[in-house]
C-alpha cells in the first residue's frame, strides 16, 4: 500500500482565487509530509495540524504533527500572473519510515486578458431616418485570456460626456427603488438582524461607478452577506425575493419583457466578456464633445486588474441621440474560438 492514497488539488482555477485541497492516508501510518509550492502560490491555512507541528522553509512546508493522523486539509492563495494562463506543479512528499512517496499535481491558473486593440480619436455618428445609429469607428476590445472579463467604462470627472440611464430605464429604476425601499422598511423591522444589510443593498441604487478596490469590496461583501442571509434564513429569502418581485411586477408596464431581454443580450459579448453597464447611454449632440474615460476590468472572483487607459475621443452626431455604451465598444472573439 502506498502512503498517500488520495491527494486532491483542483485541476484549474481562476488566478487570484483561493484554492483548497487535501491529502488522506492510512491512519495507522505516521508520516512526515512535505509540500513544495511553486512561485506565486502561498499557504493561507492548514487544517488538522498541531500548533507546533509544521515548519516553513521558503516555498517548502514540512508537517510532522497532525491532530488526528491520516488527514491534511489546506487552502492556498494564488497570485495574478503576468501570463494569462500558466501551468504550475505542486509537489507532495510523504515519508513513513523507509517508505517515500512523491506525488505531483498540476494546476492550470487562468484569467481574462482584456486588450484594447484600437482607440479612435474621433467618432462620428450618423442617425438615419429610422433613428438607427451608425458609427464610423469604435473601441475594439479582445479577450486573449480564458477567464470571463467584466468591463466597465469608467468616465473621468473632466469628461464632457457622462453615462446616464436611458429615459425608460430611468423611470423604471426610480419607481422600482421607491417601491422596494418602502417595503424594505417593514422588512428591517421584521428581520432586525439584517437591517444593516438591507440598507447596504438599498444603497446600491446609487450605483457603483468605478471598479476600484473600495467599490468591488463593497459589492463583494454585500452580496456575500446577502447570500449567507438567504441561505441561513429561508423566510428572509422568501420575503426579500417577494419585495423584489412585487416591485418589479408593479412597474412592469414601464419595462417590457422584450426590453429586459434586449438589455440582457447587450450586456454579454462573445469571447467571455460582459459589460457592467449594459443599458447606460451617452447623450450625444451635434456639437463635438470629448469623452475622457478608461476601461475598468474585473473577473468572476472580483479580482481587480489595472484599468486600460485610452486617449480622449471626440464624439459628434448629425442629430441629437442617445448612444448605448455597448455600441461604443466592439468585442472580438479569439481566433481559436471562431
Amino acid at each position: 500500500m502506498t502512503i498517500g492514497e488520495i491527494v486532491f488539488v483542483p485541476e484549474n482555477s481562476l488566478q487570484g482565487q483561493e484554492i483548497s485541497g487535501h491529502i488522506l492516508w492510512d491512519r495507522e501510518k505516521k508520516i512526515i509530509l512535505g509540500i513544495e509550492l511553486p512561485d506565486g502560490i502561498r499557504v493561507k491555512e492548514l487544517y488538522n495540524v498541531e500548533k507546533k507541528g509544521y515548519s516553513v522553509d521558503g516555498q517548502i512546508i514540512t508537517i510532522n504533527k497532525f491532530e488526528v493522523n491520516g488527514y491534511l486539509g489546506f487552502t492556498l492563495l494564488t497570485s495574478i500572473y503576468k501570463e494569462s494562463k500558466i501551468r504550475n506543479e505542486i509537489k507532495f512528499i510523504l515519508e513513513s519510515g523507509t517508505e517515500k512517496n512523491v506525488i505531483k499535481k498540476t494546476i492550470e491558473l487562468f484569467r481574462p486578458d482584456i486588450n484594447l486593440i484600437k482607440t479612435p480619436c474621433q467618432i462620428n455618428i450618423k442617425v438615419d431616418e429610422n433613428n438607427k445609429l451608425s458609427l464610423d469607428n469604435r473601441l475594439l476590445i479582445e479577450n486573449l485570456g480564458e477567464g470571463t472579463g467584466v468591463i466597465n467604462l469608467e468616465i473621468d470627472k473632466k469628461s464632457e460626456l457622462d453615462k446616464i440611464d436611458p429615459a425608460g430605464i430611468q423611470e423604471f429604476s426610480r419607481k422600482f427603488w421607491e417601491s422596494a425601499n418602502k417595503q424594505f422598511e417593514s422588512l428591517k423591522n421584521q428581520y432586525q438582524e439584517y437591517a444593516e444589510l438591507i440598507d447596504n443593498f438599498s444603497q446600491l441604487n446609487s450605483g457603483i461607478t468605478q471598479f476600484d478596490k473600495h467599490g468591488m469590496n463593497k459589492i463583494k461583501i454585500i452580496f456575500k452577506k446577502l447570500n449567507r442571509a438567504c441561505e441561513e434564513n429561508n423566510s428572509f429569502l422568501e420575503d426579500f425575493a417577494g419585495i423584489i418581485v412585487s416591485s418589479y411586477l408593479k412597474n412592469i408596464s414601464i419595462l417590457t419583457e422584450v426590453e429586459s431581454f434586449i438589455a440582457y443580450l447587450q450586456s454579454i459579448h462573445l469571447g467571455k466578456m460582459m459589460l457592467f453597464d449594459p443599458v447606460k447611454v451617452l447623450k450625444i449632440t451635434t456639437k463635438t464633445k470629448i469623452l475622457k474615460a478608461k476601461l475598468g476590468i474585473t473577473d468572476l472572483a472580483y479580482n481587480k486588474y489595472d484599468p486600460i487607459e485610452f486617449q480622449e475621443i471626440q464624439i459628434t452626431a448629425n442629430k441629437e441621440c442617445e448612444l448605448p455604451i455597448h455600441q461604443l465598444l466592439s468585442f472580438i472573439k479569439k481566433e481559436k474560438e471562431t
Partner: protein, 319 residues
C-alpha cells in the same frame, strides 16, 4: 511561502465558536442520556448535524430494564424542534407518548412495554449560525477555462476534525450545501439570431412614447419583419427561452459527480448587473450537497455543465 498577512497558518479561527456550540450540544445529549438511564438501558447513540437547517439530531436506542410505573419523564433541556419515539420492531411512531412543553418535552411511560427496544429521535435547532461555517471549509471554482463542457470543482474540508470525536462515537455532518454559479450567458447570446433580435428591438421601440409618424414607420418596419422568420412567434420564443432556466428544465444540463450530489438550482444573483430588475440569468446557481464525518474529513466533487445539450435545445427553439 506563508501568507505574510496571517501570523499562523494553522486554522485556529472559529475553533472557539465550534468548541462552544459542541460543548453545549454534547452537554444536552449527556443530560438526555442520564435521564433515560434512570429507567432504561441505553444501547446505542448517534448524533447527526443536518447542515442546511442547522439542526442537531440526537438518536438513541434503549430498552426498558424494569417494570415501569405510569409517569411522565421530563426532558427540560431547551426548546425542542421534534421528538419521535418508536419501537424498534415495528418502527411505527408512538404519537401519544410525547408531550411538548415550553422548555422541552415529556415521555409518558405508561405506553411503553418492559423488555421492548425503542428508538428515540430528538431534534434541536443550533442557534449559532456561524457553527457550520467555522467547522467546514468550503470552496468552489468561480470560472472555468473550457468552452465545450464546463467542469466546476467543489471541495469540503473539516477544519477541526478532532472536535467530531466524542465519547459515544462520532458526530456526522449531513447535506453540507454548496452553490456554484454556472455561467450560461455566452450560450444564449451565441444562439439568438440577429433577425430575431432586430424584431424584438422594433417591438420594444413601439412600446415607447414616440410620435405618430415614427410609430407608423415602426409598424411598417414590423410588418415587413413579420414576413421573415419567427414572425408572430416572438413571445412564444421568449417564453420557451425562459423555460430553459426553470430548475426542472435546467437540472438536465448539469451533472454532479464524485462525493457530491445534486440538490437544486435557481437563477443566479448577478452582481455585475446594475439593472435593478431581474432580466435573464447570466448564471444559474446549482446547489449540490455532501456529507462529512470523522472517517471522511474531506470531500471533492465535480459539477459538469452540459453546455452542448443546452445549446442543442436553444437551437430547437429557433429552428
Amino acid at each position: 511561502m506563508v501568507d505574510p498577512l496571517t501570523s499562523s497558518i494553522i486554522a485556529e479561527g472559529g475553533k472557539t465558536i465550534v468548541g462552544g456550540v459542541l460543548k453545549s450540544i454534547i452537554k444536552r445529549s449527556e443530560n438526555i442520556d442520564k435521564n433515560i438511564e434512570e429507567d432504561f438501558k441505553v444501547l446505542g447513540r448517534e448524533m447527526i448535524i443536518q447542515c442546511p437547517e442547522s439542526i442537531q439530531q440526537y438518536s438513541l436506542t434503549f430498552e426498558s430494564k424494569k417494570h415501569l410505573f405510569s409517569k411522565k419523564k421530563k426532558f427540560r433541556y431547551g426548546n425542542v424542534r421534534r421528538v419521535n419515539l418508536r419501537p424498534f420492531r415495528s418502527l411505527q411512531s408512538l404519537s401519544k407518548v410525547i408531550d411538548y412543553t415550553n422548555d422541552g418535552f415529556e415521555i409518558n411511560t405508561k405506553y411503553l412495554n418492559t423488555g421492548e427496544i425503542y428508538l428515540l429521535e430528538i431534534e434541536y435547532k443550533i442557534e449559532d449560525k456561524r457553527f457550520i461555517e467555522n467547522l467546514v471549509n468550503k470552496n468552489v471554482a468561480r470560472d472555468t477555462p473550457k468552452t465545450e463542457s464546463d467542469e466546476y470543482w467543489m471541495v469540503a474540508q473539516l477544519k477541526h476534525l478532532k472536535t467530531l470525536k466524542q465519547d459515544f462515537g462520532y458526530i456526522e455532518l449531513r447535506d453540507i450545501d454548496f452553490g456554484v454559479d454556472v455561467s450560461v450567458h455566452q450560450d444564449v447570446k451565441m444562439k439568438v439570431p440577429g433577425i430575431f433580435r432586430n424584431k424584438l428591438e422594433t417591438i420594444m421601440k413601439l412600446t415607447k412614447k414616440v410620435g405618430r409618424s415614427e410609430k407608423f414607420r415602426l409598424y411598417q418596419q414590423l410588418l415587413q419583419q413579420q414576413q421573415e422568420e419567427y414572425g408572430g412567434k416572438e413571445f412564444q420564443i421568449l417564453k420557451d427561452l425562459q423555460d430553459i432556466f426553470i430548475p426542472m428544465t435546467f437540472r438536465h444540463y448539469v451533472d454532479v459527480q464524485k462525493d457530491f450530489h445534486y440538490n437544486d438550482c435557481e437563477r443566479g444573483r448577478d452582481f455585475y448587473d446594475t439593472l435593478p430588475f431581474p432580466t435573464w440569468p447570466k448564471s444559474m446557481k446549482v446547489i449540490s450537497r455532501t456529507d462529512l464525518n470523522f472517517d471522511r474529513p474531506a470531500a471533492d466533487g465535480l459539477l459538469i455543465y452540459k453546455r452542448k445539450n443546452l445549446i442543442e435545445d436553444l437551437e430547437k427553439i429557433f429552428s
